[in-house]
């Protein structure tokens, strides 16, 4: 796990984040019947403009599930999967042979929606259990567009309130499935302050 020099996450927040993503791995594996592991690539803070610029460099067409986590420590959750891989995920969830779904229909959209819901809920559950704070997901929104566009749109309200953003960037390791998904957890700076003040974990 890389940490930026500009890091603002303390050890407590890092630990809770890791625990919550481990739990998200467990529910994702259970839902897709795969041996999946979510690997945290980077936890960092940076200017929103820099983050957006980096996103623009590697933009590709994806299906995404966007979830607002609401409560004592508001955050944003974003799950993205390349379009073709969303078809594979649908097959896995419905226990069909990979390749069964070859067109985008409501079940493909719904697979991505539900993955977002279940993983975001798992993350909230860990935060609630370990920190005794209130946190629940709002209903997910599904979007099909370029990853940079989705990221920009989703972080728009964060950008209105703050110049810097904290990002937990991760990818999925799915054994033998060739699926590349990514997950972003974006706590509001205020939420990080609250979490950083929690002691005794």
């Amino acid at each position: 796990m890389n940490e930026s020099k500009n890091i603002k996450f303390n050890k407590t927040v890092q630990l809770i984040t890791k625990m919550s993503l481990d739990m998200a791995s467990v529910v994702f594996s259970k839902l897709t019947k795969t041996d999946a592991k979510i690997i945290i690539d980077k936890i960092y803070s940076d200017d929103i403009s820099n983050i957006s610029e980096n996103m623009n460099k590697n933009s590709k067409e994806v299906m995404a599930s966007l979830v607002n986590l609401v409560g004592d420590t508001p955050m944003k959750f974003l799950f993205m999967v390349p379009l073709n891989d969303s078809l594979k995920l649908t097959d896995l969830i419905l226990e069909k042979k990979i390749g069964t779904h070859n067109e985008f229909n409501m079940y493909v959209e719904s697979s991505v929606q539900e993955i977002g819901n279940i993983m975001a809920s798992a993350i909230c559950n860990v935060f609630v259990t370990t920190c005794k704070i209130k946190l629940v997901p709002a209903p997910p929104i599904v979007m099909k567009d370029f990853s940079s566009t989705i990221f920009q749109e989703y972080t728009f309200d964060l950008a209105m309130e703050q110049n810097e953003m904290l990002v937990v960037e991760s990818h999925f390791d799915l054994t033998n499935c060739g699926i590349n998904c990514s997950l972003f957890l974006l706590p509001y700076l205020e939420s990080n302050k609250i979490l950083s003040s929690i002691e005794g974990l």
Binding site: I93, L94, N117, I118, A120, V136, P139
Partner: protein, 124 residues
């Protein structure tokens, strides 16, 4: 006549999965709802023997829908199926009158047992 079930979940894929789990038990899926408000309307219309109810849904959430369905029929059987695994929600749902609470992602056998139990068809 087979017992009737209403499935309330905003994700079509979950409704499909639940249909595949429930139908082999011989129960009839009489209606589906994509949010809490629709669940209440469909409950009034079809008066099902059981409702499976998600919690995080648009327009009206599953806890509010549970509450309103029980006002319409205090004996209504509502099985909560949600990804929220938090004591506060579980306690709240059971206190209001939910029959049982299952956490997503669910296991087929667990759902089948809970449904049979709720409908009085489960033998130990």
């Amino acid at each position: 006549m087979s017992k009737s079930i209403l499935i309330a979940d905003d994700a079509p894929i979950i409704r499909l999965m639940l249909k595949d789990i429930i139908t082999p038990l011989g129960y009839q899926i009489v209606a589906e709802a994509a949010n809490g408000e629709e669940a209440i309307q469909k409950y009034k219309e079809f008066k099902p023997d059981l409702v499976t109810m998600d919690i995080i849904m648009p327009i009206k959430n599953g806890i509010e829908a549970l509450s309103e369905i029980l006002k319409l029929n205090p004996k209504a059987k509502v099985l909560m199926i949600s990804a929220i695994d938090q004591k506060e929600y579980l306690t709240k749902a059971i206190k209001i009158g939910a029959t049982d609470y299952i956490v997503k992602p669910f296991e087929e056998a667990k759902v089948q047992i809970a449904i049979k139990k709720a409908l009085g068809d489960h033998k130990l």
